[in-house]
Point group: C2
Chain length 118, copies 2
């Protein structure tokens, strides 16, 4: 999954994934919606394909691309440990902000380089 993040690092590729979220699309359709030259679209699709994000279905001379869930699931899994971390912190942050509000009112005295009270 090392290359998953690299594949997502490009905005055009993320855009492609978002479009495919709605329905499968041919290269030509993506070309129009992204307003990119066709070779560029094909190249991005190649990266996404090799990273396992999409797969192509051959219909006549078109390739219809669609999402595949695998790398997204792995991405979610990678995020798992961090999710525990931040959900712990969101609460703490809220409480902390409340506290800061209180403290700011009291600590208005010593401001070494701040602005002087008018």
């Amino acid at each position: 999954m090392e290359s998953s993040f690299a594949a997502l690092a490009d905005p055009n590729r993320r855009q492609i994934l978002s479009l495919l979220l709605g329905s499968e699309r041919s290269v030509g359709e993506l070309e129009q919606e992204l307003e990119l030259p066709q070779p560029s679209v094909s190249k991005h699709l190649k990266v996404l394909r090799e990273a396992g994000f999409v797969e192509a279905r051959v219909e006549a001379q078109r390739r219809l691309y669609r999402l595949t869930p695998q790398p997204l699931i792995e991405l979610d899994a990678w995020l798992g440990p961090f999710r525990r971390f931040w959900s712990k912190h969101v609460d703490a942050l809220e409480r902390h902000l409340d506290r800061l509000e209180q403290l700011e009112k009291k600590a208005q005295a010593p401001t070494p380089k701040g602005k002087k009270a008018p």
Copy 2:
């Protein structure tokens, strides 16, 4: 958040995040645990810092780095729409795999490489 994925594209940087998940660490500690030269560690930290993944606390002449939840939360949010997609597909996938097993037995048609047609 455009650069978040780029920041995560590097294995060393992901490793740093994992380490910081446990506890905050100085640059020197990371240097040892990652077995990377110090300038390299500092550069990776800079990328992570600018992408908002970490922040530094100055203690004497050390910098103690720790995680910040913000970009991870955004990453999770970006994943949201796709999560709906794949959770719908996991079921379908399982059924699909069962089917493929059946098909494979029939479709053993040998086409290893381009042979001339008879």
